[in-house]
Structure formats: C-alpha cells, structure tokens
C-alpha cells in the first residue's frame, strides 16, 4: 500500500508553543502545520521572529511543544524521554547552524567525526569516514586544519560533513548561508543538495536568503506562528507566463 504519508519524513499538526509566564508570555507557534518529504528540500521562510527556529527545534527533537502532534520518521516525539530524544537525534538527524558551532580545539576531521564517535564507533573508523566526507565536499586538503584556520565557507563545509557523516535520514539547517557571501552560499547550497539528497534524505532549511530559493522543492511561508502558504518554485515557474 502506498499513500502520500509514506514519503513524509516529518508531519507536524496543530503545534502550539509559548515561552515565558504570565505577562511576559509569548505565544510563538499557534497551531502550526508543517510537513517535509524524503528526497526533497523543504524551505521554511518568513519574517524575523515569526517562529521558524522554534518550529525546527520542535521537529528536530530539541524542544518540546505544548500541544499538537509531532511525527518524525514515524516516531511520536512527544512520547519520548529526553534521553531517548538525544538517541533519536544521534540516530536520525543532522544539524547545520548559522554559527557553524564547530569545536575550536578539534581539527576539521575530528569535528566531522563527532556523531560517529558519539555513537560508539572507533575513533579511527570515525575519522576515516569523516575524511571521506570532507573530501567529497572538496575539503581534501583542509582535513587537518583547525576551525580558526578555515574561512567561513570552509567551516560551514566541515559543519555539513559533521551533519551528514552518520547518514541521518533528516537534515535540519537554520540559516546555513547567512554567514556566507553570495557565491560561497551558492556553492554550499549546491553541495548540500548533492550530498544531502543523495541518500534519499529529507532536507529542511530555514532561510531569509531569497538568493537560494531556487534550490527549494517546496517553500513553506510562515508568519506569526502559522504556515500561510506553500509554494513549489518549479511549478510556479511552470505556471509563470
């Protein structure tokens, strides 16, 4: 039996999330629905403060929501303990952050090998895989360098390697190109698409950067904590006169 949900990696329905108490309470997610398919790049765009980061934190098993359903790869995240959520992230998710968040004392290879080491693989095997991943991202001659010796684009490639080295089913990126210039941003997006989609992954990207919208399969537009509309660039181009 094949249904539309078979290809859904993420399905969130009616998510509510607020921060703070009493007067200071901010209701950020207000019954948000969101889904992402495998083999696709799903963009999440919208004005600053509308709740994009909050939403991907919830579906990234990092933040718990107040109400609604969060189904990721068939798991009900709300039913998992914090330890199980950590295991779930390590097993299924890869993250890329705007600030890269590399460990400054570790070389490119060591940084990229962390998820495998955390899974209990031997350091040697983990670093071999990390090096191969870096090479595939065009970082073959930078593998021994420390983050401080790398440019922003190179650091983000190390971060991509770290996010993909353990072959996660879903890749979650928050503003991956915001710290990069346009050309580097394009290169990084190209690499992301090739590397990420190769494994029949679902890639979710939060961005402000309309220069990279062309890479999207579907774009979720968000405002004030809800998805206002979903756009498919290819079809919209087809629809264009």
């Amino acid at each position: 039996m094949t249904t539309a949900t078979d290809t859904l990696a993420v399905r969130c329905t009616g998510i509510h999330k607020s921060f703070g108490e009493g007067e200071a309470r901010v209701h950020v997610l207000r019954g948000t629905d969101f889904d992402a398919r495998t083999g696709e790049m799903t963009f999440l765009v919208g004005p600053s403060g509308c709740g994009k980061t909050t939403l991907i934190s919830v579906l990234g098993a990092i933040l718990s929501c107040d109400d609604g359903e969060v189904d990721v790869l068939g798991h009900d995240l709300r039913a998992l303990s914090s330890g199980k959520l950590a295991d779930f992230r390590l097993a299924n998710l890869g993250f890329i952050f705007q600030q890269f968040n590399l460990l400054p004392a570790l070389s490119a290879t060591e940084n990229a090998s962390i998820p495998l080491v955390a899974r209990g693989e031997s350091v040697k095997a983990a670093e071999t895989s990390a090096r191969e991943m870096l090479e595939s991202l065009g970082m073959g001659d930078q593998v021994h360098k420390m983050p401080a010796q790398l440019s922003g684009g190179q650091q983000q490639r190390v971060a991509i390697a770290r996010a993909l080295v353990h072959s996660p089913r879903i890749l979650i990126c928050d503003e991956p190109t915001a710290s990069l210039d346009a050309a580097t941003g394009n290169t990084v997006m190209g690499l992301l698409r090739d590397a990420a989609l190769a494994g029949d992954r679902s890639v979710i990207i939060v961005t402000h950067d309309n220069r990279i919208f062309d890479f999207a399969d579907r774009i979720h537009h968000m405002a004030d904590g809800v998805i206002t509309h979903i756009e498919s660039p290819d079809s919209s181009r087809e629809d264009a006169p």
């Binding site: 980061t53 991907i56 934190s57 990234g60 990092i62 933040l63 914090s82 330890g83 950590a86 295991d87 779930f88 992230r89 390590l90 097993a91 998710l93 993250f95 952050f97 705007q98 600030q99 968040n101 460990l103 400054p104 004392a105 570790l106 060591e110 962390i114 998820p115 080491v117 955390a118 350091v123 770290r162 928050d174």
Partner: protein, 380 residues
C-alpha cells in the same frame, strides 16, 4: 568521547595550566605540611624509639610526657627488679644540659644517662666509634645533627672536648639517634657521669627501663609493676602514644599545621572549582552543540568528570613529585628536617583530597552542562 573532552580542555591552555597548577599546589602544600607534622610528632617519641632493648618504662605517677621527667627514689630500682616477669631493669637518666665548645658555641642538649654496667639504652646506630667507647672516662656520644650544630662545617669525628656545666666531656662516638622534639643535640653518657654533669646529685633516677621475661606480654608485666610499686609503668608502645598525645594536646602544632592543611585544601577546591566552572561556562556552546547532535546528558557528565579527573591526576602527580623531591633532598641537608619523609599514608590521604577537588569541581559545573538548552545552538 573522552578524547573530545580532553581536546576541549587542552584547547584552553591557560585554564588547563591553571587547573593543573591548582591541584599541584594543593597537593604539594598539604603533602609537605602533613609530612612535617607527622615528622615532628615522631620526634616527640624519638627517645622512646631509640631505646630498643627495653619494652617497659617505669616513672613517677605524675609524669605525662617523656620530656618532663620527675625523679624516682633509688630504691625503686630493686623493687622493680623484684617483680615477677621482669627479665632485667636498668636506670635511665634524662635531663637537659647546657653545652659549650672551646670555640664558645653554646647549645641546649638532651642528656641521656645509661646504666654504667650494661650500657642499655643507646640505639645500635654508631656512625663513628662503638658502644664500648662510652666506658672510657668522661666519655660521651653525640648525634650527627648535634655534632654539626656544635662544629659547623666540620667532618664527623671523635676526640673533641666539650664543657657540660663546667665539667669536661670527651666525644668518643657519634651515634645516629633520631632528632628529639626538645633539642637537636642529644648526648649519651653513663648514668654516673650524666648525674654529675647536671649537678643533680647521685640518685636522680628519671626512668627505669625494664624488659619483660620471654613468654610474658609486656602489658601484663607493666601492670604488675604498677600494682606492686605504685609507680606509673607502661609499655614503650603506650609511652610513645602518650608522648605524641601530649604534644598534640599541649602545643600549637596541631592548630598551626591543621590551619595550613585546611587552607591548602580550601584554596585547592576554590581555585580549581571556580576555574573549572569558568572553563565550562566559556565552552557552554560546545556542550550545547554536542547535546544537539545527540550526546546524552550522562555522557556529557562523564566527559566533564573526565576533564576534571585529567587535571586532578596530572596535578596530583606533579605536586606529589615535587613533595617527594623535597623530602628526598632537603632533610638530608637540613638537620631541622632530618628524618622527615613523605609518608605513604599522607600520599594516599592527599590523593583523596585531589579526588574531592575533582568531584567538587565537577559538581559545581555540572548543573550548567546538564541544564544548557541545546536549542541555544540555533541562536547567535
């Protein structure tokens, strides 16, 4: 992941050095002070230790420490000898005396007078000469530390003369007695000469040294002597303990050393704990990133513990090494610290202190690691 934790720690060289230094400093300070403390306590009983042949000491009932004897009547000696289970009993004289060299050097000395006939009570540790030389007229033996005090810079040798209360005395032997608590110079001589040197008259008996007969426990014989003579009679073991307790109860030593040791421990915990906490705080984004990737809290906790344990072990090693170096060199050169050494018990005790520092540091910083919200990695 411990490798990752270690690299994180080594990545911050300044803090890493500060942490290692903190543990090393604490270890060294506490090791050193505790060893000197126990060394000093040992001196409180060194006179007892050096009388190896006897196992029972008899004294006036009012005597609390070997350093303050009270004279016994001469007739007590035959009474003690008459107690059942006493193999032999000899007189032992102990007093302080002023000593002058021909060069004009003036020192306080402990003078120990041993039985003229048996010469019992001198440690069997002659550096120069032998016990038989003490039978000569005006013969005395001194300890090496005392000799160096009287004749600075000269080779240990016999033949020199001293003045003890205007009487002539001749050094015929050098005996390696343990340094005593009250003075660095210890003089051994015959009982008859000792009473003469101190102008105490003939029958000034400080202690009676006795030996229990084979097969009778010294405790039993000591009790029997006490019951029969009304004197205080204890085994060497008991007297050693009493003399140490006397120093503990009646001098400022435990308080002053205790203060330094406690300060050392507190400074260690404070420096290391706070520096480690700062290290964790400054690297909190890294812990958050690891958490977001999916490293469990328990694992992060053990990583932090591993980091603290690393500085703990290295710091302890360095501190202990320096302390060991100190005690293997300085006491050989300095008579003030002679016979002091790094006790294994102290090394173990300080290892426990280092472990406490490590655990407290981890506990102080743990909360931050455990509570940091992995979602912060998404924020600038």
């Amino acid at each position: 992941m411990y490798r990752v934790a270690l690299r994180m720690l080594l990545g911050d060289k300044t803090k890493c050095l500060g942490l290692v230094f903190g543990v090393a400093f604490s270890t060294l300070l506490v090791c050193q002070q505790m060893s000197i403390f126990f060394g000093l306590l040992g001196r409180a009983s060194s006179v007892v230790n050096d009388v190896r042949e006897a196992d029972i000491w008899v004294m006036d009932p009012s005597v609390k420490t070997i350093d303050v004897p009270y004279p016994l009547r001469a007739l007590e000696l035959p009474r003690v000898r008459g107690v059942e289970g006493v193999a032999w009993a000899v007189p032992f004289f102990k007093a302080t005396v002023q000593v002058r060299t021909h060069q004009g050097m003036l020192e306080n000395a402990i003078i120990l007078g041993i039985d003229d006939a048996s010469l019992v009570g001198v440690p069997d540790a002659f550096v120069v000469g032998s016990i038989d030389d003490l039978a000569e007229p005006d013969a005395i033996a001194v300890n090496p530390a005392g000799f160096r005090l009287l004749f600075p810079g000269e080779e240990l040798d016999v033949g020199r003369e001293l003045e003890l209360n205007d009487s002539r005395a001749k050094i015929v032997a050098i005996v390696d007695a343990a340094p005593a608590f009250a003075a660095n110079l210890t003089i051994y001589t015959r009982y008859s000469l000792a009473t003469q040197y101190t102008n105490n008259g003939r029958n000034q008996l400080s202690f009676i040294l006795a030996k229990s007969a084979d097969g009778t426990p010294p405790e039993v014989v000591a009790e029997r002597i006490a019951a029969r003579t009304g004197l205080k009679s204890v085994t060497s073991q008991q007297l050693r303990r009493e003399s140490i307790m006397y120093v503990l109860a009646n001098t400022g030593i435990p308080v002053s050393f205790g203060t330094v040791v406690i300060l050392g421990a507190i400074i260690g915990v404070a420096i290391v704990g706070l520096t480690f906490n700062q290290f964790v705080m400054e690297n909190i984004k890294q812990y958050a990133a690891l958490k977001a990737i999916g490293v469990r809290n328990v694992k992060l906790l053990f990583m932090t513990l591993g980091q603290a344990a690393f500085v703990g072990v290295i710091g302890y090693g360095i501190g202990l090494g320096i302390a060991a170096l100190f005690f293997s060199t300085v006491p050989k050169k300095s008579d003030a610290l002679r016979g002091f050494y790094l006790l294994p018990e102290v090394a173990v005790g300080v290892a426990i202190l280092a472990a406490v520092i490590v655990i407290l540091s981890t506990l102080i910083s743990m909360r931050r690691v455990l509570t940091v919200d992995p979602a912060t990695v998404f924020r600038g």
